[in-house]
Each structure stands twice: as structure tokens, then as C-alpha cells.
């Protein structure tokens, strides 16, 4: 699973990116508020999946517990907005910082574990966190089992360039902006020294160490950065849903994130977007197909996707792109 960084990543199809971004900006004015809300959620999942990708895809570690960082980011935002009356946009960088630190601290001991053991440790984190959130001595902060209700922010202006803005559209643009920023950060990280070091550690850990790469540091850093991305996603989702509770962050959420990442395409930034679309919409589609056992349909689709698209949706697009491109002798 070694990704060839230079070949396809160099040729950024700028035209597609710009068209895509323009399309994304125009979209909320053509679809209902409900769909705008759904797309905003998709964007938050995409950010989380970029984070997961950095950890699993590029750094070769595993995490079955990233739902915990969604929770930490979400609760940071909720607590700051509810108890400290902080404006919502200010909470995002704070949530990012908190998760960066927590992720790094978790990564330090965790990197002594490999493979299955690391999976268990992260799984344990995901399972334990809801219980911590309900802990009665932390209730004054977390709201305990009742959770925290947040005031959904209003749009700051009535119109934008003559087009009507409402809370849903405004939050969509806000989320879109944060998503673009996070993707750019992720892009630079992966292409830069950090990304190369991570790939080296992933593919040839011993050679990397002997070349002077501080393996433990980079691995913990990968964890921290990955947690940071997921924390930002959690913070945004808290604002969109306007409610956090321990029940929102079950183990199944962590598993869903991982599934989304693999389906979207590991070691691929656009894969994060495809994966996010999958985890947001496929359960709804499965529900339309079968009311009796929708999750059986979902599970079947997971398996079929793995049969037909082992490198994920992004991998499939890459293959199609290669086939369509004229072959050079």
C-alpha cells in the first residue's frame, strides 16, 4: 500500500478544484435547508477522515477510537459556548489545540503498542470516554447524562452578494471555509517533511530510524495532528447539531469513521470527501431500500465496496483517470 507521492499528487487538477469549490459555494442556494445541513455534516466528517487518514494511511498506525476526539472537540466547543459565552468561531482553534495536546499525550504511551494492541487501546478510549463524560464529579462542566444544549448561531448578515443568508447557509459557508483550511494544512503536512517522515516510518520503520528520523516523536505527533483534525470536526458538528450528549459518541461512531476512511480511500485527501459522503448518505439509502433490516443492506454494501474497490472510491477514480489519460510511450 505504498503511495507514490510524486506521480499523481504533483499533477493537481487545479481546474477541478476551482470548479468544485465554486460549485460548493453555489449549492446552498439551490437546495433546501435540510440538505444544506446534511452537506455541512458531510464536510465535518471529511475533516475527521483527513485526520484519520494522516494517522492510519500515512503513518501506518491504527485507531478504532477517533470518536473520542470528536467528543472532546465537540464538548470543548459546547462548554466554552455554554459556560464562557464564547463566540462559536473562537472555540474552533481552542478545540483544535486541546485535541492536539490530548492526542499527542495519548500517542506517547500508545506507540509502545503495535497493531492489535494499539487497536484495543484506542477502542478502549472510545468506550471509556462516554462514561467519563457522565461522571458525576465532572457534571458541572459536561452536563452529565443530560448533555449540553447550545444556542445555534445566527447568520451575521441578512444577505450575501444579494443572495439570502440564513443560519443553515451561513454555517455551511463557515464549515466550508474551515474545511478548506484544514485540507490545505493536511495537504502541506503530507507533502512536506512530516509527511515523508511518516511514510518512511510506515513503510520501513527500521531504515527510517537508522536515518535519524525520531520515530517516537513523529508517531506521537501523527496521533496529535490526527486528533486535532478530528477535534475540529467535532467542534463544528457540535455547532451544527446544537447539542452534545454522551450518547452522541458511541463506539459505533469510531468504527463508522474508520469504515468511511477505507471506503473513501486510504492515503488520499479526496478520499476523505468520498468517505464522508458514504457515511452520511448510505445509511439513509439503505433505509429506503429495506425498512426491515437496513443495516444488513449497509453491511452488504460495505463488503461489496471492498470487493470491487479495494483501494477505495478515490482509488477507483485514480484508476479511471489513468485509463483515460493518453499513455506515454
Amino acid at each position: 500500500m505504498s503511495s507514490n507521492l510524486s506521480s499523481h499528487e504533483k499533477a493537481i487538477p487545479w481546474i477541478w478544484l476551482i470548479l468544485g469549490l465554486l460549485g460548493a459555494c453555489a449549492l446552498p442556494f439551490f437546495i433546501s435547508n435540510y440538505h444544506v445541513f446534511q452537506l455541512s455534516m458531510v464536510l465535518t466528517y471529511a475533516i475527521a477522515l483527513v485526520g484519520l487518514n494522516i494517522l492510519i494511511g500515512y503513518s501506518g498506525q491504527i485507531s478504532l477510537g477517533h470518536g473520542a476526539f470528536l467528543a472532546i472537540g465537540a464538548y470543548t466547543t459546547a462548554i466554552l459556548m455554554d459556560k464562557a459565552d464564547m463566540p462559536y468561531w473562537m472555540t474552533i482553534p481552542i478545540a483544535a489545540a486541546v485535541c492536539l495536546v490530548v492526542g499527542f499525550l495519548f500517542g506517547l504511551p500508545a506507540l509502545r503498542l503495535e497493531g492489535h494492541y494499539l487497536a484495543l487501546a484506542t477502542f478502549a478510549l472510545a468506550v471509556a470516554l462516554p462514561q467519563l463524560l457522565k461522571f458525576k464529579h465532572l457534571e458541572f462542566l459536561t452536563g452529565g447524562v443530560q448533555g449540553i444544549v447550545i444556542m445555534k448561531p445566527e447568520a451575521p448578515w441578512e444577505t450575501l452578494f444579494g443572495l439570502k443568508l440564513n443560519a443553515d447557509r451561513w454555517l455551511y459557508f463557515f464549515t466550508l471555509a474551515v474545511t478548506v483550511v484544514m485540507f490545505v494544512i493536511g495537504w502541506n503536512l503530507i507533502r512536506g517533511r512530516v509527511g515523508r517522515a511518516l511514510i518512511a516510518i510506515r513503510d520501513q520503520p527500521i531504515a527510517a530510524a537508522s536515518m535519524g528520523i525520531d520515530t517516537p516523536l513523529y508517531k506521537s505527533l501523527a496521533f496529535g495532528v490526527s486528533a486535532m483534525f478530528t477535534g475540529v470536526a467535532g467542534a463544528l458538528s457540535a455547532i451544527l447539531v446544537a447539542f452534545v450528549a454522551p450518547d452522541s459518541f458511541t463506539v459505533f461512531l469510531s468504527i463508522t469513521l474508520m469504515v468511511g476512511m477505507v471506503i473513501g480511500g486510504v492515503t488520499s485527501l479526496p478520499g476523505a470527501l468520498y468517505g464522508a459522503l458514504f457515511i452520511q448518505f448510505i445509511p439513509n439509502i439503505a433505509d429506503q431500500i429495506s425498512k426491515a433490516a437496513p443495516w444488513a443492506i449497509y453491511g452488504t454494501m460495505l463488503i461489496l465496496f471492498m470487493y470491487t474497490m479495494p483501494t477505495g472510491i478515490a482509488g477507483l477514480f485514480r484508476l479511471i483517470g489513468q485509463k483515460l489519460r493518453p499513455t506515454h510511450p
Binding site: S32, G144, G147, F243, S248, W295
Partner: protein, 403 residues
């Protein structure tokens, strides 16, 4: 000239007189029309709380049968029940879809405190009737701040308080142990219980233990509670764990006075698996008829209920308390819709719901009447204390006020 004016005016007035009653009679908000009424709901059909999905299933069957019999005031009920997996973000998404895309007239029987908390503000801002919630949290009775939300279950807090008061009255020197599910439902009951014991709560409650719904067993908790030497036990657990607790208590040879919360009082889903012989002496409260109780065998609504189950949802057991609960809620809903008549605006529906005068829901125990007023949205004011005799729940005492 005058004559013509007079005739013209008379003509206009008479036309208006014809037209006005017609428009004053039928008023519709989105989701209602001459032929249908759209009702939306979220229910955990998957995930950890999926056992409650039976409620939605039975309600869907109820409305299907009702439609076949002509519907309500000639309108068919289009019942849209969506799965939210007991996850608040999913609930928000599904409710937004129901309100903004499917444009339902009202929401009925949405289940769970966290899911409902997540949409509480939204539905009140959007002014969509949020009716007959399938949860007993006390916060749904707040017509001042949330005039569009009305609960169904007698609230947990009050039921807990009643048990506490009962113990004070019958066993003032009791040593009490409590097992609490670690979530809002458990805490609500426990807080009410402590309130009922008043100042003596701290001294009477000698042990308490909690558990998560993801825990496989609660054996360790029961061992701890027994070891405290308590002689009275308040069991705040949901069906699966209630069954485990009842059985384990018997296994370890502990014989406390055992109060069981109403949510887990179903003979079919809890007492039978636990062991009917082990359940003798259990004290609880009821407000809905139990499908396994032979005394309702000839009761018309119970007969209808059993026929419905047999025809539409044969995989559901008539002993399942969730099934009768769903049936009762649906009956309440139909009553309110009937009262609204042809004025199917959201405002009128809430008005009818806020002015229910001593209505006997057929599936609810006789004498336990549903009443609301614009300042008090609590539906059921009384419950019946019952004790299990090995076969059925037997009433003792008069129905008690649950405030």
C-alpha cells in the same frame, strides 16, 4: 338606486355567508389535507435501544388498521417513522427531514431523553407539535417555555418520589439499596426517590450502584448491594437488566422489599425471563393494561390489540409492555385528532392537547384518566401501586396521585 345597492349587498353577503363557513371549517397546516394527516416520528430501530422499536412497529400497525377502517374524520394517517439509532445527531437530522422535507403536521412519540433534548428547541422554534414523547423525563412538562412539547409517560421523577414516600410511610426504618442505570432515566428516578425520602434520604440509602447499558451483567453490583445489609431495594433498570437483577437477587439468597420501576414492569419482557417464581412480592406501579393479565381477556380494547398484533406484527409478543404502550399512545393521538375535527392547524392541535378533560384512554387502566390544562401538560396524574403474586400484578391501595 338604493334598491340595486341593497340587492347587490344582499347578494354579496349571501355569497360570503356560503363561502365563509366552508373556509372557516377546514383549516390546514402543512401535513394536513382533505385526505391525509402526516405524522412523523423517530424511533431507535437499531443500536443499543432497539428493543423499544416495538413501540413504533405497533403504532404503524395501529394506523394502518385505522386507515383501512376509514381513518380519522375521513382522513388517512400517513405515519412516517424513521430510525435514529438513539443517537442525538441522527435524531436532529431525521426530525429536520420530517419537518422540512416531508412536511409532517406533527411529531408523535419520539423516543428517548437525549434524542428529544436535541430537538426540543428546534421543534418549539419551528412551532411543530412535539407530542406524547416516549420518555418520562420531567422537563417535557413546561408549557411556559416550550409550549409545543407535551409528554406522555407519567414522569419518572414523580414515580420515584412516590416509592420514596411509600417506604417512609410503610417501613420508616428501612435500609435501602439502589441500582441505577447511568443515564438520564436512571438519574431522574433516583432524584425523585431521594426527594420522596426527604431529609432521611442520606441515612436510609445505605448503598447505591450504577451500571452502563453496555455492561454485560450487573452481578457484581448486586453482590455489593446485598453486602451492604440493606433490606429494601429500588431497582432502576431497563428490562434486560431488570430481569438479570431479579434473578440474581434470588440466586444470592437476598430477600429485600423490591421496588421495580414501571418501565421494566412488563410480565412478558421482564418477569417471565427472570422467573415468575423469583418475581413474587415485587412492587411497582402501572398505568397501562398488561397484555399477559388474564383479567383483561374479555376487555374490548385488549381483544382488538391482540387481534392487531396477530394480524400485522405476529413477531411481537402481546406480553411486551412496549407494545401496549405504543397502542395507548396511538389511541391518545387519535383522540386529539378527532377533537381537532377539520381545523387541522398545528395551533389547534396543541390547543386540543392542552385541554384534555378526563379522557379514559382504552388501553390505560380504568380510573387513570388523562387530563391536561394550558398550565400543566402532565397527562396522567395517577398510577396504581401493584404487587406481583407470581402470576399477575395485583392492585393494592387506590390509584395514587403522581405530581
Amino acid at each position: 338606486m338604493k334598491k340595486r345597492q341593497f340587492t347587490l349587498t344582499a347578494l354579496c353577503l349571501s355569497i360570503a355567508a356560503f363561502a365563509m363557513p366552508a373556509s372557516a371549517q377546514k383549516k390546514y397546516d402543512p401535513g394536513a389535507s382533505d385526505t391525509e394527516i402526516k405524522i412523523g416520528q423517530t424511533m431507535p430501530y437499531s443500536g443499543p435501544a432497539s428493543a423499544y422499536g416495538v413501540i413504533g412497529k405497533v403504532q404503524a400497525a395501529f394506523f394502518k388498521q385505522l386507515n383501512e377502517q376509514g381513518g380519522v374524520n375521513g382522513r388517512k394517517i400517513n405515519f412516517i417513522s424513521l430510525d435514529d439509532g438513539y443517537s442525538p445527531p441522527k435524531t436532529v437530522e431525521m426530525i429536520r427531514r420530517l419537518v422540512e422535507q416531508d412536511e409532517v403536521l406533527l411529531l408523535m412519540g419520539t423516543l428517548g431523553t437525549p434524542p428529544n433534548s436535541a430537538i426540543h428547541k428546534y421543534v418549539n422554534t419551528k412551532k411543530v407539535p412535539h407530542m406524547f414523547l416516549a420518555t418520562g423525563a420531567s422537563k417535557w412538562n413546561d408549557p411556559q417555555n416550550f409550549p409545543w412539547t407535551i409528554g406522555f409517560n407519567p414522569n419518572y421523577n414523580s414515580e420515584g418520589k412516590l416509592y420514596g414516600q411509600h417506604i417512609l410511610a410503610t417501613k420508616p426504618n428501612a435500609k435501602i439499596a439502589v441500582l441505577v442505570q447511568n443515564d438520564d432515566y436512571g438519574k431522574d428516578y433516583f432524584n425523585g426517590f431521594k426527594e420522596g425520602l426527604g431529609a432521611k434520604a442520606a441515612s436510609m440509602i445505605v448503598a447505591q450502584a450504577s451500571y452502563e447499558v453496555t455492561d454485560p451483567t450487573i452481578d457484581s453490583q448486586i453482590v455489593t448491594l446485598k453486602g451492604s445489609g440493606a433490606d429494601t431495594f429500588f431497582n432502576i433498570t431497563t428490562p434486560k437488566f431488570a430481569a438479570q437483577a431479579i434473578r440474581k437477587i434470588d440466586d444470592v439468597g437476598w430477600k429485600p422489599t423490591h421496588y421495580l420501576n414501571q418501565v421494566s414492569a412488563s410480565v412478558g419482557s421482564v418477569l417471565k425471563p427472570a422467573g415468575l417464581d423469583k418475581s413474587v412480592g415485587l412492587i411497582s406501579m402501572l398505568y397501562i393494561k398488561d397484555g399477559s393479565d388474564a383479567k383483561w381477556d374479555n376487555d374490548p380494547t385488549m381483544k382488538d390489540f391482540k387481534a392487531l398484533i396477530k394480524k400485522y406484527t405476529p413477531e411481537v409478543s402481546v406480553d411486551d409492555g412496549n407494545a401496549t404502550f405504543g397502542y395507548a399512545t396511538a389511541q391518545m393521538m387519535v383522540h386529539v385528532l378527532k377533537q381537532a375535527g377539520d381545523n387541522l392547524t398545528r395551533e389547534n392541535i396543541m390547543k386540543q392537547a392542552a385541554n384534555i378533560k378526563d379522557f379514559q384512554v382504552p388501553m390505560v387502566l380504568p380510573g387513570v384518566l388523562a387530563s391536561t390544562s394550558p398550565t400543566d401538560f402532565a397527562l396522567f396524574q395517577t398510577m396504581q401501586l401493584v404487587k406481583f403474586d407470581g402470576k399477575n400484578w395485583v392492585d393494592f391501595g387506590k390509584p395514587v396521585a403522581v405530581k
